[in-house]
Symmetry: D2
Subunit: 158 residues, 4 copies
Amino acid sequence: MRVRPRRDAIIQRLRLEQPRKVKSYRHNVAVHWGDTDPARIVFYPNYFEWFDQSCRLLFDSVGLDWDSLGKKYGVTGVPIVEAKAKFLAPSRFRDEIVVESHISKWNDKTFEVSHVVMNRGIRAVEGYEIRVWAHRHPEDPNRLKAMPIPPEIRAAFE
Amino acid sequence: MRVRPRRDAIIQRLRLEQPRKVKSYRHNVAVHWGDTDPARIVFYPNYFEWFDQSCRLLFDSVGLDWDSLGKKYGVTGVPIVEAKAKFLAPSRFRDEIVVESHISKWNDKTFEVSHVVMNRGIRAVEGYEIRVWAHRHPEDPNRLKAMPIPPEIRAAFE
Amino acid sequence: MRVRPRRDAIIQRLRLEQPRKVKSYRHNVAVHWGDTDPARIVFYPNYFEWFDQSCRLLFDSVGLDWDSLGKKYGVTGVPIVEAKAKFLAPSRFRDEIVVESHISKWNDKTFEVSHVVMNRGIRAVEGYEIRVWAHRHPEDPNRLKAMPIPPEIRAAFE
Amino acid sequence: MRVRPRRDAIIQRLRLEQPRKVKSYRHNVAVHWGDTDPARIVFYPNYFEWFDQSCRLLFDSVGLDWDSLGKKYGVTGVPIVEAKAKFLAPSRFRDEIVVESHISKWNDKTFEVSHVVMNRGIRAVEGYEIRVWAHRHPEDPNRLKAMPIPPEIRAAFE
């Protein structure tokens, strides 16, 4: 017998289908000659540099620049733990691309920032960064210790 | 009736389970001051630049530099379609790191290159690139068309 | 006997003292985290990257993008022959700097582009690039041959 | 009455005319794909990045790494004040170039590092950096104050 889905499962699915609006940032990037390689397309590590820029600009845009976070919460930046990109279409010299970024997932001590690069209306690159909320380790200043993300940080993006 | 697997299928499966030794490349990289950021660690997009270098050096090391591939097979480089990295430990100015690279998976038209960055004996970064064997599209020179990878290319890494 | 300067010489000198207004370009650059080094200031090679961007944007701004120049005049880009910068004050993450560029000198086959980087009203960097108007060498396609700059190119900046 | 120059002044002048052999550093650089641009030659700001690397390696090679200098002498790095390069011949992907660097001039508070890039036996680029021996300014920690270079620093390169 196939059971009916429970009511909270339905609600959960609706949430996924109609996600709460979260704040996003649109970061305009002009592709310069020096960003491109002999194949005349953007050399791919540059996209990760633009992801990094966009992540910081996204935090700045909600009033949470990382220097202030360090002073207020003791975090030492918000270090990268994972980054990935899929390259769907090339970008070229003089293209005006847009990196659209939002926080797509909150975990206890880490979060995921999703980035989509649009170029002339087409999806050129999509990817994400996972970053960790980290303090300097109390026993070893050369190491970091992941810490729970304060709820007001998450709330600032909603 | 469930047939018994044929003998060559068994061998194939054993091969997958006990992978043949494939050729790898060890790429030494000196971390320079300009590779590091105000957190005094490598700015992460640089790792992808070193992945790209290592992938080309791996091909060079088996006698398959991409310029020659273009002339012989008509491929237009071996463009990136996906790249990912996990950052396990930071690297700093003056660290002498090693990027160890090998082709970890062959598909019909794409392949995956795995990269591990070792720093003083510890695993600092691990990641991969997926690249596509591509010709210029016969109907549109601005587009690429994925093509089956010739078996001798794969054989060159074994 | 000391002769009086001729009238056209006087006019020439006045011209030098009161130079004709030439077109310039103001290129806004946001300093990103990844542009700075562990000293928390811009890593200096980046300024030359911004000079290169500004030089191309200056040409674009008068309708002379270098791709079109190649098609119309047969030049193969406008290669760099010399670049210099004086670093007067540091720039930091989040600074919004402006690179102001104009062509400061025309020679027969080369020209000089002057760049000044302003940061919050102070002169942070000043420098120049010298570039050459070059065709592919008729006897060796791997070499370039400097050619006289057409007068309409110079006129476009006045 | 015009005095005759003292003997040690004569020797000093002879020394300047027949310069003592100074220590130099040869920095091998592999030109990677990502260092080149759509013109298929090295994008010129990279040469300044290699100059910066070579300058640090030159100091390291005589046992004067800049981190230790900071601890011993209170200098905050050795910041750049001027950089210049002449581009004599292009370098391309896979070229193995050598940056040869030595300190070409000592002033009271600054010094000049000369760099020559050799590529397959030809002089590809020549240039210099001028750097300043600087402490944090006693009245304003955001500014630097140039200081006399200790004689043992200069002696270490002879």
